[in-house]
């Protein structure tokens, strides 16, 4: 039966100091299939892939067979040569160069010792066409959207005769519409006989896309099943190892009538156009909208993170001016930014120092940072948020994504701001940590904290929000109370096909 397996990984183990990252994993991928690889963070997905591409060496006894041949002395260069390529979340493109140059970066066509530009652009056009995307190869990569860049990356890999493509969370930076285009492309590649290993946290995506799914848990293969035989609950159960009755916890908090934050006519002269809304005490206000609709910009504008903002912000009825994040903090507003690695964490600092970064004034003693007070404050939140770390002195960079995110959240809880804005708090974290964050959001509103929430996962937004504002093209294009949440209408507002309350006939 193994004859049509393009990839066989047998008896793969990998030990890191103190951790068994992989334990005798067998992993089979059939030729021409889309194979989903799932598991919580730390389950061993990335380690397995790194071994496959030769970035890590497996322990003795592990074997990798590709197209019937045993791979020996594997390395990133060798695996690529054999036809195994990876699309990472960060692209390997050079922004200042053109699309064509990037596609042929590995091997420029040469004619009489010089680059044959004509051939380069002709060929890259052909490759782009084959992959099914319509991008002018003479454009500079930096001028492309994220989705287009991803396509260029895929095209570049195809041009190098990749037969097995590994995609690691490829939809994370994409909008809904772009995701559809990517899925088409993936199906297109499959038709051409290319095999795909698809890694994602998004259960829905994997279920719709994959032919078969391998689930890893704690470094072991739990099962490998046909996608048709699975639904999301079964899949979660396999990943987490326990049954999940509900994906979302019940909501206990109820917003009070009191308006804590009132925003009027916020514009940035660019993306945001006259946005006004109120936030009530203890409320979770969800912001729906496509990527690029201005949700992140709105939060950053309120937070004073970007210059050139006009409009009024009232806190408890009092007009305030926020010109910097520092002033936002002083006024009791906190922001959990979209990219935790770039904007949320100080990777070289410890868990304790990260948690106490915003609230450092609270742990001072005679003008000096008191280690005792700091430890107490950090410990409190490590317990409260169930942050899994061997110690408070652990460097935050060593934690898993979910625990890192909890540290960023703890930073604001430690400071104790009554308003917290969360920009994609569950992006790229595992199911267990997601659930913890859902519970926490509910708990915080019970304590009277008000939350503005952005998430691109609509079910999450629907389950957590008391009220949803839909943004489209820098404007508020719809408002829905909890009882009237309707996926179709919200999406239509997000796409700009209807306005609030407008009938669906237009769409």
């Amino acid at each position: 039966m193994d004859n049509d397996n393009i990839l066989v990984m047998k008896n793969i183990s990998k030990n890191f100091p103190g951790v068994k990252a992989l334990d005798k994993v067998d992993f089979f991928v059939q030729k021409g299939e889309i194979h989903g690889l799932m598991g919580e963070n730390g389950a061993g997905k990335s380690t397995l892939i790194k071994i496959l591409v030769g970035a890590y060496t497996p322990e003795r006894g592990g074997e990798i067979w590709f197209k019937g041949n045993l791979i020996q002395n594997n390395s990133p260069i060798l695996s690529k040569k054999l036809g195994i390529s990876t699309i990472y979340q960060e692209f390997n493109l050079i922004p200042q160069l053109t699309v064509g140059e990037n596609i042929f970066l590995h091997d420029y066509p040469i004619r009489r010792g010089l680059v044959d530009w004509k051939k380069l652009y002709r060929e890259s056009k052909r490759f782009l066409y084959e992959v099914g995307c319509d991008i002018d190869p003479s454009l500079k990569v930096k001028n492309l959207s994220v989705a287009q860049q991803q396509m260029v990356e895929i095209t570049s890999i195809i041009s190098q005769n990749a037969e097995l493509i590994i995609m690691d969370e490829p939809t994370a930076p994409l909008t809904k519409r772009e995701i559809d285009i990517l899925f088409n492309l993936i199906h297109h590649l499959k038709k051409r006989g290319i095999t795909i290993i698809y890694i994602s946290h998004n259960i829905g995506e994997v279920l719709t896309l994959a032919d078969r799914i391998t689930v890893l848990r704690d470094g072991k293969v739990v099962n490998c099943l046909t996608a048709k035989d699975l639904d999301q609950y079964k899949l979660i159960e396999l990943m987490v190892g326990r049954t999940f009755e509900n994906t979302f916890p019940p909501r206990h908090g109820k917003p009070k009538n009191e308006i804590i934050l009132s925003v009027k006519n916020i514009s940035d002269g660019h993306k945001l156009k006259n946005i006004s809304f109120n936030l009530r005490k203890g409320e979770v206000l969800g912001l729906a909208g496509l990527v690029g609709s201005g949700r992140t910009e709105l939060l950053r504008a309120i937070y004073g993170a970007d210059p050139g903002i006009s409009g009024e912000i009232k806190l408890n009825g009092k007009l305030i001016r926020i010109a910097s994040p520092k002033e936002a903090k002083q006024n009791g507003i906190g922001l959990l930014p979209e990219n935790r690695k770039e904007e949320g964490l100080i990777p070289l600092m410890t868990v304790q120092q990260n948690i106490c970064l915003a609230a450092i004034d609270k742990v001072q003693h005679f003008g000096l940072v008191s280690n005792k007070k700091e430890t107490r404050l950090a410990k409190n939140f490590v317990t409260k948020l169930d942050i899994k770390t061997p110690s408070l002195a652990q460097l935050v960079v060593r934690l898993s994504g979910g625990n890192q995110q909890k540290v960023v959240l703890a930073k604001w809880l430690a400071e104790g701001t009554p308003i917290i804005m969360l920009d994609e708090p569950t992006r790229g974290i595992d199911v267990g940590a997601k659930y913890d964050i859902y519970v926490l959001i509910d708990q915080l509103t019970l304590e009277g904290i008000s939350i503005i929430l952005i998430t691109s996962e609509l079910p999450e937004l629907l389950a957590l929000s008391d009220r949803i504002l839909v943004m489209h093209d820098g404007r508020v294009n719809g408002e829905f109370e909890n009882e009237q949440f309707e996926t179709k209408k919200i999406m239509a507002c997000a796409f700009g096909t209807i306005k609030n309350g407008g009938d669906m006939s237009e769409s």
Binding site: P325, E342, E343, G344, I346, M349, L357, I360, V369
Partner: protein
């Protein structure tokens, strides 16, 4: 049990002070070699001599370490030191030759130049490399223009004590170096300023979005660095016994080398002053030992470079292979 204690200790050293540990081994090896080859190396007077010789570099190194931790750099140290020296000497030879006033003046010049560097980096957003490279040229130019390139001699004896005097048999600059080390190390460890310096170097945007006025702290970092340069400039002038407008050429590189040897990462976010102190000491030992062995100073340059490559290379290699 002792085994376990040792293991814990070793884990801690390995993760936090590996570069310092490597340096100490280098120091041990060099020390042994020099002790065997010469009779004079391992004597108290010679060790004090080494400490005296490194004091200026170490003090400059403390300042630049703090700046590098904040992900900045300062190339203007050497020139600014000369400028400080000229200012101090000018006050000492003026109609009010007060020593406290001249010291204040020197510190003020150092701090003021640091302030300008800080404004350029933090508020005008010039890359630190460019801003301080320009300042290197400007400060040297001012030192030359103001004095017409003529050194200032005849400084009062009591001032020279700062550079060449002894207290209880130990040269004065060593006290200044150690005092500054303890003060700055404490500031870096135990104050908000210190914490923010590491945070800014580790991830400036995340620090800013934590509601911290990062620009203000970056400015402060350069002012502190400038004051260190001021201290170094005053000591240097007192040692030379004159204000020399061409003094201190290349000192910025020695100071940066001491910091890097001591484990301060050039891209910011990590490092400490004890490393810089040991780094400067290693450089001092290398120079001193070779001088005792009558090795030509030209060869010494080569050796210094090789030691840097080996010492930093070992820890970089470990960092990369540990990934």
């Amino acid at each position: 049990m002792p085994n376990k204690i040792f293991k814990n200790w070793w884990e801690k050293v390995k993760s936090n002070y590996f570069q310092e540990f490597i340096l100490l081994i280098v120091l041990l090896v060099l020390g042994t070699v020099f002790s065997i080859l010469t009779d004079t190396f391992l004597t108290i007077p010679n060790m004090l001599n080494v400490l005296l010789q490194i004091s200026i570099i170490a003090i400059l190194g403390f300042g630049v370490t703090i700046i590098i931790i904040s992900a900045g750099i300062d190339l203007s140290l050497g020139s600014v030191m000369a400028l400080v020296g000229m200012g101090t000497a000018a006050i000492l030879t003026s109609s009010v030759p007060s020593i406290p006033l001249s010291i204040m003046g020197g510190l003020l010049i150092g701090g003021a130049v640091g302030f300008v560097n800080g404004i350029n980096v933090a508020y005008i957003h010039l890359p630190a490399f460019i801003a301080t490279l320009a300042m290197m040229s400007i400060a040297r130019g001012i030192a030359l223009v103001v004095t017409n390139a003529i050194p200032i001699y005849n400084l009062p004896e009591s001032f020279l004590f700062l550079g060449s005097g002894f207290i209880w048999g130990i040269p004065t600059p060593i006290y200044v170096m150690l005092a500054l080390f303890f003060i700055l190390d404490f500031i870096l460890r135990s104050t908000k300023f210190g914490r923010y310096t590491y945070a800014i170097g580790g991830n400036e945007e995340a620090t800013r979005l934590s509601g911290i006025n990062t620009n203000r702290y970056k400015l402060l970092v350069y002012i502190v660095g400038g004051i260190c340069t001021g201290v170094a400039g005053i000591l240097f002038t007192a040692r030379l016994g004159s204000g020399q407008p061409t003094a201190g050429v290349g000192y910025e590189l020695d100071a940066i080398t001491a910091a890097i040897l001591g484990g301060t990462a050039l891209f910011g976010g990590s490092g400490n002053l004890i490393g810089t102190l040991i780094g400067a000491f290693v450089m001092g030992v290398i120079n001193n030992g070779q001088a005792l062995l009558n090795i030509s100073s030209y060869v010494q340059y080569i050796v210094k470079g090789i030691i840097v490559i080996i010492a930093v290379g070992v820890s970089t290699f470990r960092y990369l292979s540990g990934k």
